[in-house]
Every structure is written in structure tokens, then in C-alpha cells.
């Protein structure tokens, strides 16, 4: 879409949604020609952009101007995109609500009383408001795929290493993925074809090239082996969600797909969230040890170097973040490491083995991305450790533990609010994931909700 119109639209929704941290005065386009020359793109504010404010949603970086460009920004710019804004996120990407950005909560344009989801809240919101063609996000637990579900758009997390993380302010390096939002499956394929590729600056990127997918996939579901993630369905109470999912399954069968069910070790699945918390917080506490206000970022005065660091960090992070750092440090302490960090690593391995086994004989594994539509802004997470919540709301983290590609597409609406369908495939097999997603997109034929702004 026209990038100037895009900026106009972002201004229009900003006051009510608070989706952006920076809306550019004019579009930033480095090349006129390219595969994505008419695309306007929003960037989650944890992607470093040269000479542009890059805050990661945190007070401590609220004055930080990027000194280099993230690799993925360069790749997209080389294909002609126009950048229009940097979007809000949960502080440092650590959160799932979109409520903890230092600029205030992001509201869902489809229902302003509700969350857009997180941590890529602003990117999901500007997509829901039809303000851009592509919005970049990052996905450490389900930070792209969950908000995509709440905002009725496509959210993709490709294979770990498919897109360079160089220049993406981390949360937890071994779980962090560059992810993104588009309005439809074909756009998401085209976007990945541009963003994917080995990067010398990120040696964890894959050497294996992404095959050309866009001109190969047809969306034909005939003969596709689709497995239902049964544990997730069993933990969902909401009838409408189950009905929507069943409609999808029926349609798949009609199209000739071979549908089966997979049941994973229930006890093991219940460890997903605690395992995630330990690993993510342990890595995060080290990853963010550079944020001390010494050679960049917002510094506070202090008596000596330690005092400056202490005061800058106390002032610079919200309480929830500081608490996560304490948990992470605790998990890495000499006397706790074996019992917490190392054990969590072992459980991660077991969970990945479960997922690999589930995918071994099928093309994809699918489940509702969430048990329900977007939560209200004030909803608390008191039941987070309940049996119901542990599996149905956290299963997408398997994609981060394994690094396997995973995406969410709209599954339908419940009372005029969207809910997503999650699709998982084998490592490096984005092609199959997209092919099935394209087919599902056709049979679902999702009707966009008209938003409030």
C-alpha cells in the first residue's frame, strides 16, 4: 500500500491504540525497485535501526538511537520496502499482554477494551488496523503467533536460524526468532523469501537456503497428512473455539487431507511453562547485563560505577522485568544451576523429542492458537498455572524449544473477535507449512472484522 497513506492511517489510530513508539515523518525507502517495492512495513521497536530511536519498549533504552541496521532491515530495504513506524512491545519483549511497554499499553484496534497480545503488540495492532502490509515482530514464546491470533492476521515464526537475529535486541537467544505479520499466506511466503538467508554476523543462521516457495505451493490439501494436537483440544473449554476448529477439520477431510490425532505425554507438557520461564529468564538476565547506563542508554547519577549501574537499572526497568532478572540469576547460581537451569535444558530436550515424534509421520501438527479470543485489558493471569492454562495457552512455545517452523492464521471469529489456528511443521520445512496454510486459508475463507478505529 502507499506508504504515505500508511503513515496517515497510523496517526489516525495512534491515540486510541497506542500501537507505535515512533511514526516516521516520511517513509524510509532505500530503493525504489524490488520484489517488495510497494510494501509499507512497520518494525517492532526491538529491531535496531541506524539513526532511529530504538527502545525495546524499555525506559533504560528510551533515549537510545541505533548505531547500525539490523540485518533483516537491510534485506527488506534492498527489495524496496518503505518503513513507516516502530511499534510498541512488552518491555524487552518479555511479556504476552502488550501492557508493559514504557509508553503504555497497546489496545486491540478490533476492540479497544482488549489486549492486542504480546510481546509484538504494536505490530499486531497496526496489522489489524490495516495500516501496513508487513509488520516485523520477534517470537520467543509465542510473541508473534499469539497476537496474530488475537488480531486476526497471519503470524509466522520460521525455523530457528532462517532469519538473522543480528540487530534484534534479544530476550532469550536460544529461543528468540525473528517473526512477522502479514494479511495473507502468500504475502508471508514472499516476505520470508526476502528475509531468509545465512548471515555472517549471526553464525546461528542456517546455511541451507530456503527453496523458492511462492511459485511452488498450490494449497492443495489432498493427501496432506494433518495431525491434530489432541492434548490442546482436550484442555479447551470454550465451545465456540472447539466448533471453529472442528469446522476446519471437516473441511480438511472434505478436501482429501489425511487427518489424525496426536497425544503427547501430558505430564511432560505441563512442564512447558516452568521450563520456559527458567530458560528464558536465565538467558535474559545475561543478555541484558549490557543495559547499565554506562556507554549508552538512560543513565542515573551515582557515587561510583556500581552505584550508577544499580540506579540506572532500578530506574530503567519495571518491576516485572527486575523480578525476571532475579529469577534468572537464581536459576544460574552455582548451587541452583543443576536443579534449575540444567534440568530445564534436559526437559527442553524431552519436549522437543515429543514434538519430533509427533511430526515424524505427518506433514503438519495443528491446534487452536489460543483457547479464547483476546483478553480484556484488565484481565489478570491468576490462573496461569491452572491445568487448563498450562497446555492450551502455552503449547506454541514448543516451536521455540525446537526451532521448528510454526505459524498462525485466522481460524474464524467468535462474537466478532478473531481467533487463530496454529500450524507446525518439521525443521526447515517451511514449504509444507505454507502449502498447508494456503489450503487452510482457502477453506476457512476468513471474514475480517471491522475494527473500532
Amino acid at each position: 500500500m502507499d506508504a504515505n497513506k500508511s503513515i496517515e492511517r497510523l496517526h489516525q489510530i495512534q491515540q486510541q491504540t497506542n500501537a507505535c513508539i515512533t511514526i516516521f515523518e516520511k517513509p524510509v525507502q532505500h530503493k525504489k525497485e524490488g520484489k517488495l517495492s510497494n510494501w509499507s512495513v512497520a518494525i517492532k521497536d526491538n529491531f535496531v535501526m541506524k539513526d532511529v530511536l530504538t527502545t525495546a519498549g524499555s525506559t533504560i533504552l528510551s533515549n537510545y538511537i541505533g548505531v547500525y541496521d539490523a540485518t533483516v532491515l537491510t534485506k527488506l530495504a534492498d527489495e524496496g520496502v518503505s518503513y513507516v513506524a516502530k511499534t510498541a512491545l512488552d518491555e524487552l519483549g518479555m511479556g504476552g499482554s502488550g501492557l508493559t511497554c514504557f509508553t503504555g499499553p497497546t489496545k486491540n484496534p478490533l476492540d479497544l477494551k482488549r489486549q492486542a497480545g504480546g510481546s509484538s503488540s504494536g505490530s499486531a495492532a497496526v496489522m489489524a488496523a490495516n495500516a501496513v502490509d508487513l509488520a516485523l515482530g520477534s517470537d520467543t514464546g509465542d510473541s508473534v503467533r499469539k497476537p496474530a491470533s488475537y488480531c486476526g492476521v497471519v503470524g509466522v515464526k520460521p525455523t530457528y536460524g532462517r532469519i538473522s537475529r543480528y540487530g534484534v535486541i534479544p530476550y532469550a537467544s536460544s529461543l528468540d526468532h525473528v517473526g512477522y505479520f502479514t494479511h495473507n499466506v502468500m504475502d508471508s511466503v514472499k516476505a520470508l523469501e526476502v528475509m531468509a538467508g545465512f548471515d555472517l554476523k549471526d553464525p546461528t543462521t542456517l546455511i541451507q537456503q530456503l527453496p523458492a516457495i511462492s511459485n511452488v505451493i498450490t494449497g492443495d490439501l489432498k493427501g496432506k497428512k494433518i495431525a491434530i494436537f489432541k492434548n490442546v483440544i482436550d484442555h479447551i473449554d470454550k465451545v465456540e473455539t472447539k466448533q471453529l476448529f472442528e469446522q476446519v477439520i471437516d473441511a480438511c477431510k472434505q478436501q482429501g487431507a489425511l487427518v489424525s490425532e496426536v497425544v503427547m505425554d501430558e505430564k511432560l507438557l505441563k512442564t512447558m511453562l516452568p521450563t520456559y520461564y527458567i530458560l528464558a529468564n536465565c538467558e535474559a538476565t545475561a543478555n541484558h547485563a549490557n543495559l547499565v547506563g554506562i556507554n549508552f542508554g538512560l543513565a542515573q547519577d551515582g557515587e561510583d560505577i556500581y552505584d550508577i549501574m544499580k540506579k540506572s537499572r532500578t530506574h530503567g526497568f519495571n518491576e516485572m522485568i527486575r523480578r525476571r532478572f532475579v529469577i534468572g540469576s537464581f536459576g544460574l547460581k552455582d548451587e541452583n544451576q543443576e536443579e534449575l537451569y540444567v534440568k530445564a535444558q534436559k526437559i527442553r530436550r524431552l519436549l522437543v523429542d515429543q514434538l519430533s515424534k509427533a511430526l515424524a509421520d505427518v506433514d503438519v501438527l495443528i491446534a487452536p492458537a489460543s483457547s479464547d479470543v483476546a483478553p480484556l485489558l484488565e484481565s489478570d493471569d491468576a490462573d496461569r498455572l491452572s491445568n487448563k492454562h498450562l497446555i492450551s495457552e502455552n503449547h506454541m512455545v514448543l516451536g521455540n524449544f525446537s526451532g521448528f517452523p510454526s505459524m498462525t492464521i485466522p481460524m474464524g471469529n467468535i462474537n466478532s473477535l478473531p481467533i487463530g489456528l496454529n500450524i507446525n511443521a518439521k525443521a526447515m520445512d517451511e514449504q509444507t507449512m505454507f502449502d498447508v496454510a494456503l489450503g487452510l486459508e482457502k477453506v476457512i475463507n476468513y471474514k475480517k472484522v471491522k475494527g473500532e478505529v
Binding site: 535496531v48 537475529r165 543480528y166 534479544p170 537467544s173 541484558h288 549490557n290 560505577i305 549501574m309 544460574l332
Partner: protein
């Protein structure tokens, strides 16, 4: 002495690479502060480490020459602590799986060969340099991220002398292997020494004290001797040794406590998630091994056996690596190793402030010069003149032409001068007959004068003797 001394040494050695351990920024000593840095070295948000292949190669070489067993699967860990010299808030190191393990080197102390064990060699990155001023601290990040290896010895040394020999030997090996500059004064080689005392013959180690920041080999020896005295005195008085870090004070020639050992400090090591475990390829390993030059002991042997140099001369070359390198460069252009060695030691070595001899006199020119001398195209007196001119970047053949230098070898002409010299100094014949051999030298000198320095001294010497014997 009633107590045994136990010494172990940790050597931090900066690797001779063009770029940093995990970034493409240049490595540079004594550069304008904060110019050899990029966003990675400064720990800016979103940056990631990319391992320097050359640094790995040099580290493999260090492991190889010290006989360490190499762990082919490289793994890195994070060492977490907050300090202003550590921009990321953690140092990337190899805590759990060091690159090399269980090696050893031989040292010679009082003509005795002793084996010192090497516990481990691991790769890591250097920190920034801090300058603490009265009211502020200045930070130079140029050093941040410089590739390092830490070489940890076993507690195998029993005296300051052995410790000194260990560091000297190790330093020379690293220098010869081209792994590092090993300049202690510039900090590219740094030593931390651990010392404890135990009752003679006992298996129980005493409390360990660490001496940090030793900036010369001489100070290593002095610091250890001072520390041994201090610990002995404490033990004699039944006072406890406190586990702590100390430094050596040159003014008082004693060690001074810096801080009590942070027994409780927990670095919360964990595997670096941004660097996957990486296999050293066979190609890289072979390349590393193939590029290791001869170690000092082997090289010395070669100088003596292959080039027939005197032991004392060989030692001078071995301990002057730059001069030895020049010897190696020149020797391919000449066949007279002895003549070359003499000239290097007597003339070239005394050139002040010259580090790159090749730059001053190209090896090819020096080789030609030695050949001219050997073939009597110039005599030794003329050679000194030629040498001086060569320092002005002139080629030896041009100098000889310019100064009309010839060596006169014509028997008749030499004979004429000899007769003239004898006529002028008849007493020398008498002296010679009376067994005073220096009369020969005297007459040769006279002939040199008469020939304006152009006579071939060796040949003149021979002819003078023949003439004197006839009389």
C-alpha cells in the same frame, strides 16, 4: 628450607590476529583510544558474536606446541559479572570445555631439565582498559574483545627460578610459533602467580595466595621470592595465611594485599547460546599445525648442526627473534652462515631501535654483501664502509662502484708492496725470526696502507709469510 614451595601460573596471552575474537573490528595496541571498536565490542543492543577463525587457528597452535590434548568440539560459555570494563556484562570464555588439556613443557634450570604440566588452555576475549583518575574513570574499549588464550599450569613449580624459567620458555615458544607478540610491557602477555607453602614432604597444600599484574619476568622472580619470605614468616609465627590477591610493589620489594579472595563470587557460568558447539575441521587443524615454525630448542640445534654456528652465537640468535628471522631471510642468498652470523652479531645487532631489519637492509642485498666479502670482492675494511652506506638504502654493488673499491689480488703487485714494506721496516724480519708472529700482521698492515686499503688481506698475509720464510 623446611617448607616446600608450590607455584602455579596463569598466563593470559593476546593472540596475534588482525581482528577481534568475536567481531570484525581491528586489533591495535597504542592506537587512538576507542578507535578500534565497533558496536559488538561496545556491547550495543542486538549485537551477536561471530568467532574469529584465525584466533582458533592460533589457539590450536598454542595447544599443539604445549602438547595439550585438543577438544575438537569447541564450546563457549558466559562468565557473568558487572563491571565497566566488560561492556556486555559477561565475558565469553571456555569454562566447561577448554580447547586444550593436559599438556606440558620442558624447562631447563641449572642444567636440569624439568617438566611443567599444563592444566588447560582456553580461548576468551579481553576486557576494556580503564584509567582511574582522581575524579573520574576513563575507558578505552580498543582492547575489549581482543582474542586471548589463558594457559593454566599445574602447580608444578618449586621455586622462583623455576617460575621464571617457565614463563621465559613458554613466552619464547609462543613467540616462535607466531601465536602472540608476548610483550609483557604492553600487556600482550600477563601473568598471575599462585603460591602456597606446605610442610616438607606433606601431601596437604597450604593456603594459596595469588599475585596479579606482574609486568616483567624479573618481577615474577622478585615477587615470588618476597612472597615466600612473607609466608614463611607468617607460618613461623603461627599466623594464618589468608587466601587473597596481592600485587608486587617494586619500591618496597614486597607483595601488598589487593583484596581478599572472593570466595563467594559466583560467575554463573552457562553455555553461550549464540555460538553453537562448533567442530574444528580437519583442514583447519592441519593448516594450523603446518604453519608452526621450529620451536626454539629445535631451531638452536639446527643452527649448530646444519650451519656450524658456535653454541654461544646460536644462543644470541635464539634470544633475538627478530635477528634470527633476518638470519633466516638472508641465509637463502648466501652460503656463508658463519660470516653472516658474525656480521649480524657484531654489527647488525647493535643497530639501535631497529625491529624490522629487512626494512633497513633488504635480505637479498645483505646476502650479496656477505657473498662479496666471502669472495674477496671487498676486504673486511672496505666492508665496514659498504655496510654504513647500505644503511642509506644503497645496494652493495652500487656502493663499490661509486667508491671505486677494488681488491688487489695480483701477486706481482702485492709482492712489490711487501718488499717495500720490509725495506722500510727491516726490524720486522728479525722479530719474525725471533718468533714474534705479530710481525706478520704488522707487515700486512703496512701493505694495506701502501695499497690504500685495496689489498686482499688474506692473500697478503700468505705472501708475507712466504717472503719472511725465504729470508
Amino acid at each position: 628450607m623446611k617448607r616446600d614451595v608450590v607455584i602455579g601460573i596463569e598466563v593470559h596471552c593476546e593472540l596475534k590476529t588482525n581482528t577481534k575474537m568475536f567481531s570484525g573490528a581491528p586489533v591495535g595496541f597504542a592506537q587512538e583510544p576507542n578507535t578500534c571498536v565497533n558496536e559488538i565490542d561496545l556491547g550495543h543492543p542486538g549485537t551477536l558474536p561471530a568467532l574469529n577463525k584465525e584466533a582458533v587457528k592460533l589457539s590450536i597452535m598454542a595447544c599443539f606446541i604445549t602438547g595439550c590434548r585438543i577438544d575438537y568440539l569447541m564450546r563457549f560459555d558466559r562468565k557473568n559479572y558487572y563491571y565497566s570494563d566488560l561492556p556486555k556484562g559477561f565475558q565469553i570464555t571456555q569454562q566447561f570445555y577448554p580447547l586444550g588439556k593436559d599438556g606440558s613443557i620442558s624447562i631447563i634450570v641449572d642444567d636440569q631439565e624439568i617438566t611443567i604440566g599444563i592444566e588447560r588452555i582456553h580461548m576468551e576475549e579481553d576486557t576494556a582498559k580503564q584509567f582511574h583518575m582522581e575524579d573520574k574513570t576513563l575507558i578505552d574499549y580498543n582492547r575489549a574483545g581482543t582474542p586471548l588464550i589463558e594457559i593454566v599450569s599445574k602447580p608444578d613449580m618449586r621455586s622462583a627460578k623455576q617460575a621464571k624459567a617457565y614463563v621465559e620458555t613458554l613466552r619464547n615458544m609462543l613467540l616462535y610459533a607466531n601465536v602472540s607478540d608476548v610483550k609483557m610491557e604492553e600487556g600482550s602477555l600477563r601473568c598471575d602467580v599462585n603460591i602456597s607453602l606446605k610442610e616438607k614432604g606433606s601431601d596437604t597444600f597450604g593456603t594459596k595466595v595469588e599475585i596479579k599484574n606482574l609486568n616483567s619476568i624479573a618481577n615474577i622472580e622478585k615477587a615470588i621470592d618476597a612472597e615466600i619470605i612473607r609466608q614463611n614468616e607468617l607460618l613461623d609465627n603461627n599466623e594464618p595465611i589468608i587466601q587473597q590477591t596481592r600485587r608486587y610493589d617494586e619500591a618496597t620489594k614486597t607483595t601488598i594485599a589487593m583484596r581478599d579472595k572472593e570466595a563467594a563470587l559466583d560467575y554463573r557460568y552457562f553455555p553461550e547460546p549464540n555460538i553453537f558447539p562448533t567442530m574444528i575441521t580437519d583442514a583447519l587443524y592441519q593448516e594450523a599445525i603446518a604453519s608452526i615454525p621450529l620451536m626454539p630448542d629445535k631451531k638452536r640445534q639446527m643452527l649448530i648442526e646444519d650451519y656450524q654456528l658456535k653454541e654461544v652465537d646460536a644462543d644470541i640468535l635464539i634470544n633475538n627473534k627478530a635477528l634470527l628471522d633476518y638470519f633466516d631471510d638472508v641465509i637463502v642468498h648466501t652460503s656463508s652462515a658463519t660470516l653472516l652470523c658474525n656480521w649480524l652479531i657484531s654489527e647488525v645487532l647493535s643497530l639501535e631501535a631497529v625491529h624490522d631489519y629487512n626494512k633497513h637492509i633488504p635480505a637479498e642485498d645483505f646476502g650479496r654483501f656477505i657473498n662479496l666479502l666471502k669472495d674477496n670482492k671487498i676486504n673486511s675494511k672496505q666492508a665496514k664502509v659498504v655496510f654504513t652506506h647500505m644503511l642509506e638504502k644503497k645496494k652493495p654493488d652500487d656502493i663499490i662502484k661509486e667508491l671505486n673499491m677494488v681488491v688487489i689480488e695480483d701477486d706481482n703487485l702485492l709482492h712489490l708492496w711487501i718488499l717495500q714494506a720490509i725495506d722500510n721496516h727491516p726490524q720486522s724480519v728479525v722479530d719474525y725470526k725471533n718468533g714474534k708472529d705479530r710481525a706478520v700482521g704488522f707487515l700486512v698492515g703496512q701493505v694495506m696502507k701502501l695499497s690504500k686499503g685495496q689489498a686482499n688481506p688474506a692473500k697478503t698475509n700468505q705472501l708475507v709469510k712466504e717472503e719472511l720464510n725465504k729470508r
